[in-house]
């Protein structure tokens, strides 16, 4: 027997309540705070025009996110390419290694980098012992450190959608290009890369969106020197108690992500980016 539409809604009602109460509610609350605290109006948003600090933080966030996305996707593309062309057992091993790094807590990974790349870390002390450097290389407490940590965290997110796109390519298409006179480089730029474009776009989108909200890595590896939006929001909420500013920044992040997805949807079907069936 088919359920009439009404009882269908009844079945998903608990889930709708959960989403509405625990997800949409708080988001609307944040948006509300951003235009009411400390005084009603768009005063918080006006700070974007007046405050150099806020502008600098947003600019840093954008710059780090773009660089991290670029490096992660390029690295991810190379890894996915190697995986697709590896034979069965080697491919499983590579996928295993990738997933292990995927599963290790971001805290563990971030502090590992601190141990490796700190002033007295393994890398600096080894180079020093070998006499290659006289002063420690400043890896940490700067954008380089944040970038290393973030790229390391994001690479698996970049690999998986690109890997899926590469797997769906028919090898005969590549052979066809070669048989028609296309060199290796021509085949890559004109055939292979365009055919993996959906995977690259998906990877960029996912990596960039996750990057925007990064908190732990910039806080630990940046050592307070690289202030990004998420960390600044937490400072506003927990220390200076300027909830209005914090809510405004959160709203900006939210709209930024939505705008990005809207932009992407103009170019391609989002369902393909997120693994839906291609039509």
């Amino acid at each position: 027997m088919r359920l009439p539409l009404k009882s269908g809604w009844l079945l998903v009602l608990p889930f709708l309540l959960l989403v509405g109460g625990l997800f949409l509610g708080p988001i609307l609350n944040v948006l509300w705070i951003s235009v009411t605290e400390p005084a009603p109006g768009f005063g918080n948003y006006a700070q974007l025009g007046s405050s150099d600090t806020l502008r600098r933080i947003l600019w840093t966030t954008l710059r780090v996110c773009v660089m991290c996305t670029a490096f992660s996707v390029i690295l991810g593309y190379s890894i996915a390419y190697a995986m697709v062309h590896a034979t069965g057992p080697a491919q499983s091993r590579m996928l295993g290694l990738l997933l292990i790094s995927f599963w290790i807590s971001v805290l563990v990974r971030t502090f590992s980098w601190l141990m490796l790349l700190g002033r007295n870390g393994v890398v600096n002390s080894t180079l020093d012992a070998l006499g290659i450097i006289s002063a420690p290389i400043p890896f940490m407490r700067n954008e380089l450190g944040v970038l290393i940590g973030m790229v390391h965290y994001m690479v698996p997110y970049a690999v998986l959608p690109i890997f899926a796109a590469m797997q769906s390519i028919d090898g005969r298409v590549v052979q066809a290009s070669r048989s028609l006179g296309g060199s290796g480089a021509q085949t890559f730029w004109r055939i292979y890369l365009p055919m993996t474009k959906p995977g690259v776009v998906a990877a960029s989108l996912v990596v960039f969106i996750i990057n925007l909200g990064f908190y732990v890595i910039p806080a630990v590896l940046g050592g307070g020197k690289v202030l990004m939006v998420a960390e600044y929001i937490s400072v506003q909420v927990l220390i200076t108690l300027q909830w209005g500013t914090a809510a405004m920044l959160a709203a900006i992040l939210l709209f930024g992500v939505l705008a990005l997805m809207f932009l992407m949807s103009r170019f391609m079907k989002l369902s393909t980016v997120f693994g839906g069936a291609r039509t």
Partner: protein, 334 residues
């Protein structure tokens, strides 16, 4: 319009994977402008052989000469062979025009020349007006023609075709076979065609190479192979055959070369008597299975129109045939 010498010479060509030999000591001369078909069941090595000619498979032993020059070490993209793949392998993100233009555009030809040539190719495969479509907007038969146009666009001396009609339905196939043959006649390129479909091989080829287990079983014109098979495999893979054992030799006898008549009325150099096991009506022919004592059941094809009423199952019949109808095979036994 073909440039270069399209004659191919394969000498002692072999391909081994460890202990397995996919292509075993193949020697073959392919003439310029010839339509040559590699025919065999799956696993016979025909596709591996084609991939070796194309440059996608390494050669274990032997050599490939194009117009007398070895191309064994030449990478695929430098061989200038056109290729039509099983499943067509069109570039899904490019329009029909860009697909066909690809071989010229990677050779950095001027745009005017490319556009003129693409128009000419669209004309050849009768797809005028489809230039802006994407491959997924075309039917299977149309995609197949785009693949052909793309492979012929740069006037290659040799065109390699790997079961290009495999994905088409029967009716369309016959139609495309005729078109392919016509295109071959017009462009004068050497065609090397791989198929497992004997009808396709018979109807299109100048010569057929029958392959089995990586080896060449027999080479010849369609008529030559059909009338004079040398082995039981050739006789049964290309058409149907009855096998007769006489004086320690094996003979192949085509079903349509046997005359069937009611018992006592048979006249011919060779005659056996038997009982009709079954008779099946196929429109143009009646296919009889006849039980003859001491032999495997013999298959006989009879012209349904000329023979009139079919003889019923269980009828006693005489089978007769001329001496020239039975072909002695090289196989000593089966």
């Amino acid at each position: 319009m073909t440039k270069g010498n399209g004659s191919l010479c394969l000498t002692s060509l072999s391909k081994r994977y460890g202990a397995f030999t996919a292509v075993d000591n193949v020697n073959l001369q392919i003439e310029k402008g010839e339509f040559l078909t590699l025919l065999g069941p799956s696993g016979s090595g025909k596709t591996t052989l084609l991939m070796m000619i194309a440059g996608f498979q390494d050669i274990s032993e032997g050599d490939i000469l194009l117009g007398g020059v070895s191309i064994a070490q030449t990478p695929a993209e430098k061989r200038n062979f056109g290729m039509v793949f099983q499943g067509y392998a069109l570039f899904p993100h490019m329009s029909v025009h860009d697909n066909i233009a690809y071989p010229l555009s990677v050779r950095r030809r001027p745009k005017a020349e490319i556009d003129a040539r693409v128009a000419e190719m669209l004309d050849l495969v009768r797809l005028n007006g489809f230039a802006k479509r994407l491959p997924k907007e075309l039917s299977g038969g149309q995609q197949q023609r785009v693949a052909l146009a793309r492979a012929l666009c740069f006037a290659p001396p040799v065109l390699l075709l790997d079961e290009p009609l495999g994905a088409l339905d029967k009716k369309l196939r016959v139609e495309v076979q005729a078109q392919l043959k016509e295109i071959h006649r017009r462009v004068g390129t050497t065609f090397v065609y791989v198929t497992h479909d004997q009808e396709e091989a018979l109807s299109m080829s100048d010569r057929i190479v029958i392959m089995q287990n990586g080896r060449i079983e027999q080479v010849g014109t369609p008529a030559d192979l059909y009338q004079n098979p040398k082995t039981a495999f050739a006789a049964s893979f290309l058409g149907k055959s009855n096998f007769l054992h006489r004086d320690d030799a094996v003979f192949a006898l085509r079903p349509e070369k046997i005359d069937l008549s009611p018992e006592g009325q048979g006249m011919g150099a060779n005659k056996v008597s038997g009982v009709v096991l079954s008779v099946t009506y196929f429109g143009a022919v009646l296919k009889y299975q006849v039980e003859v004592p001491g032999m495997d059941p013999i298959e006989v094809d009879v012209d349904a129109w000329r023979s009139g009423q079919a003889l019923p199952q269980g009828a006693r019949v005489d089978l007769t045939w001329a001496d020239s109808a039975a072909v002695r095979l090289l196989d000593q036994s089966l």
